[in-house]
């Protein structure tokens, strides 16, 4: 026999189900007024410094069908690479957004400020990116991924460097579709499957 570890096991995830919006986005579920203040309605407030951008896309399943019931959350630093609460962070960037795909056509739009670069613990510089978390009916544990940008220098990003199949790199990179406009799909399965993360 040996000593017992004093650690606990993380609680098991369960699917968010089709009605996740009731608890997380009451207005979307048709229950406006349930809360005085819904969280994550926008990651930025008026006056946020930097380039305001819109990222548009779909969450696509293995049959190429765009989900109508997915919910997404994003988390990012301000235009200077500072997260809320860090010294010098832009007070108009909360960094957190909660959004859902359109129930009729399956499109989502994230309006935010383009994030700055952030270093890792060991000092390596990560290319600008937005962290993304996707939940829905049929997704048994929330999926983590990142949105990078095609008009940034992604060549020395430590996460992208770990992807062996370079043909999959593009699944993490938003394509510029116009001034301040980017396109980024999340593909759950199939030939274009997004690189999902375990971080």
């Amino acid at each position: 026999m040996v000593q017992k570890l004093n650690s606990l096991v993380e609680s098991a995830s369960q699917t968010a189900g089709p009605y996740v919006h009731i608890g997380c986005m009451p207005s979307y579920a048709g229950n406006a007024g349930a809360y005085d203040c819904e969280i994550g309605e926008s990651p930025i407030a008026e006056g946020a410094k930097g380039e305001i951008i819109e990222i548009t896309g779909e969450v696509i399943d293995g049959t190429a069908w765009a989900l109508r019931d997915a919910m997404l959350e994003s988390w990012q630093p301000d235009a200077a690479g500072k997260f809320p609460g860090q010294p010098g962070a832009d007070p108009n960037v909360s960094g957190f957004c909660r959004f859902a795909v359109d129930p009729d056509i399956g499109k989502f739009t994230l309006r935010t400020v383009k994030p700055g670069a952030v270093t890792t613990r060991n000092g390596a510089m990560q290319a600008p990116h937005i962290s993304l978390w996707i939940v829905a009916r049929g997704i048994n544990i929330g999926l983590q991924t990142r949105i990078y940008f095609e008009d940034e220098d992604n060549s020395s990003d430590p996460l992208l460097a770990r992807i062996e199949q370079k043909n999959r790199l593009g699944t993490l990179v938003a394509k510029k579709s116009g001034p301040g406009q980017y396109a980024f799909d999340v593909v759950l399965q199939g030939d274009r499957e997004t690189v999902f993360l375990d971080i």
Binding site: V9, A34, E73, R121, N140, R162, Q189
Partner: protein
Amino acid sequence: MPDTTPDTNTDAGPLIPRNRAAHPQVHDVEYKTSVPRSPRWPLLSMESTPSEETGPRFGHDILGEYDNNLILNWTKGAAPAIGERIRVHGRVLDENARPVPHALVEVWQANAGGRYRHVKDGYFAPLDPNFGGCGRTLTDSEGYYEFLTIRPGAYPWPNRGNDWRPMHIHFSLFGHSFGQRLITQMYFEGDPLIDQCPIAATVKDRAQLDNLVAPLDLGQSRPLDYLAYKFDIVLRGRRQTMFENKLEGM
């Protein structure tokens, strides 16, 4: 605006890598919707970075008077919801067995008849005019939380020929890091539908499924008012060490 408050924990170690065996199987043919919605390729693993170690923080300023009382919150206190009155309470801890203070806990559930108040739910059990079905609260400085609600009903759902969800309450948790995000479900002790449910059965480790089942807690119930159920939740922890940063000359 910002609906976040400062992260005061940015200098702790990396997140402990997730033990995927403790979680549901992502592709499970008995839960049909998981089949086209689960990735086939392996996840890309890496040590956490500030992008995962920081996260949104929420304060009491976002909470309304009735947010933690689902019996009363839909009517803002005017009339109670129909159903068995229950108190759900517990503690949010991390893998290091430390309490997670000021964690946002959001819940949603069906009403006593098994019907959700959602534009997409067409089950013919009636809506309760006094029940909305969502609530939220923050854990206290010791990681404890509680709310009052009614026991949700079981309900049928389209999957195999005759599948029913056991009584359950959905939980969404924010720790202090975006990498700790977790959504799970609380089941009720003694519900025979748990062992028939293909969603519960996506958790292959029986002890992990048992940890999603809240026991009746008579001691915390209130005579002539409500029963209590206890539901503790464990979020990912972070490595606790002084030896994180690579020092000069090492």
